[in-house]
Symmetry: C3
């Protein structure tokens, strides 16, 4: 039993690290495209990686884990370094399959921590879904706002929707007698699967005009 | 006495519901205009409706009420649905008299809860006015920032000013021996009256250039 | 000994006041340039002055000092008044030497309070540097975002970098046996000196393209 728990923890820990690196890389690349200076690029990368978790903790009145640790920011800085090294060498680094995969893994890991923290804090079903989503996409949204753009999660792709549905899965399972461990694994699986399928099939959410026309 | 309290509570509850629906409708319409996908439209509507109260609670170190409840988000989703249904059928829905009235009612209700929460937390006079204003206009401001726009409350109309003056009224009455109930009713009355008169008379605040010229 | 402490306190208090006025002036001038109405200009000025400290307090789960006091906002409103009075009379008021000096002093004072609050809250080294930086530049960043701009600290000048290095100085000294008082004085001195030299020498951080080319 302990070895199962341990493995689950290790997998989750790895997913989290992959997400921190990928999120930081994607955020830094946005900063490079936006002609920010080196500090600005690093701030954007670190914000993308740590922002979602920081808002999550603030919303349940905890001092953000990101400010109590130096590990998370160090991992994020690896992603920043990758972006700076790769920006002019790898064409379209932000859409490179490895980055997209790591980003999807991070989306799943972050949504799951959001749902777990929300359940711990006794939030409502909406609170669980909201915290899963905000944790997963909040960092990228802040980075986009800092660049003066509408957060890409609001207009593009089937991205935040994966986190929403993962949060819903977590809540359905945990209110139907399943343990939080099971609900967490299901949440991560739902987010990761949906995101990968969405990437491959180029799923998009319809717009209001699209709905009304059809 | 109980029936008076009850009636006051019911009126306030109704005002709050009207505000949640109106704010969500106005926010969703902004999202539709900004070509967001359906999730983006819903996020913008819900953020406009729940954002102010969420910041209010964070500023006094409470876990946001919006995350502990499913009622508020459900009411907001009614507003989102109205926006999606009406966007292409009703010309200028965001400036429709019914929406403007409900929005003014919401402005009054939200400013009042902000002032009450601030008084409860023992904030300074500035804190009372700031929380009344942020609660009333914070959700719409976040929505505007998400769309990459300057919050409309900073440039247009006599809107946030109504909430500021409602907060001032609350603070004057409550520091002069009146009960919080009386101060709350006065706050709501000041905000609602000013907003409706401002709409009818097309009041605007002057800009600095305007002041210097005159 | 007491007179030393007292003097240090007085100097720091003066630096803080200078910073509040300068930040409010700079923020209000941005609002005037952005054609905001008078309330918008005041909101931008006050936000620039009080925003960094407010985020700092939220991040360590304290009710923001700015909402418990009326002194800070009153001092900030002096800066707003200066901006309104001077905007059309003094050419390039935002780059006037007196404003730049007061702004640099405020940057030093705010970074130092951020580092002190972080140390008090037992944050990690990254937390100390992050809080020093956010306290110093957070208000201006919010103002820029409200205007739909990328925060100038991310693209221009050697500005936020001074606060980062001040936070690093604070942390190095305080983890090497020096008292928090000494670390605080060093932090303020590092930020102020770097900022003034940067202004005089027109230092800028390189961009990624600049680094890769050189």
């Amino acid at each position: 039993l302990i070895s199962n728990d341990q493995m689950e923890f290790d997998v989750f820990w790895l997913m989290n690290v992959a997400g921190l690196v990928a999120f930081a890389t994607v955020g830094s690349l946005k900063g490079i495209d936006g002609d920010l200076d080196l500090l600005g690029v690093a701030v954007l990368g670190v914000t993308t990686a740590l922002g979602g978790g920081t808002i999550r903790d603030l919303l349940v009145n905890a001092v953000p884990h990101s400010l109590h640790s130096t590990t998370d920011v160090s991992v994020a800085l690896v992603g920043v370094a990758l972006a700076i090294a790769g920006a002019r060498r790898v064409d379209g680094l932000a859409r490179h399959p490895v980055v997209l995969l790591a980003d999807a893994v991070g989306l799943a890991a972050f949504a799951t921590t959001g749902a777990l923290v929300a359940a711990e804090a006794g939030l409502s079903p909406f609170g669980v879904v909201a915290l899963a989503t905000i944790t997963a996409v909040g960092g990228g949204a802040i980075a986009d706002v800092l660049l003066g753009n509408t957060p890409f999660v609001l207009k593009e792709d089937f991205y935040a929707t994966c986190a929403v549905l993962g949060g819903v899965a977590f809540w359905i399972l945990s209110t139907n007698g399943f343990s939080e461990d099971v609900a967490a694994v299901a949440c991560a699986a739902v987010v990761l699967t949906l995101r990968l399928v969405a990437l491959r099939r180029r799923w998009r959410l319809p717009t209001v005009d699209g709905v009304l026309v059809s």
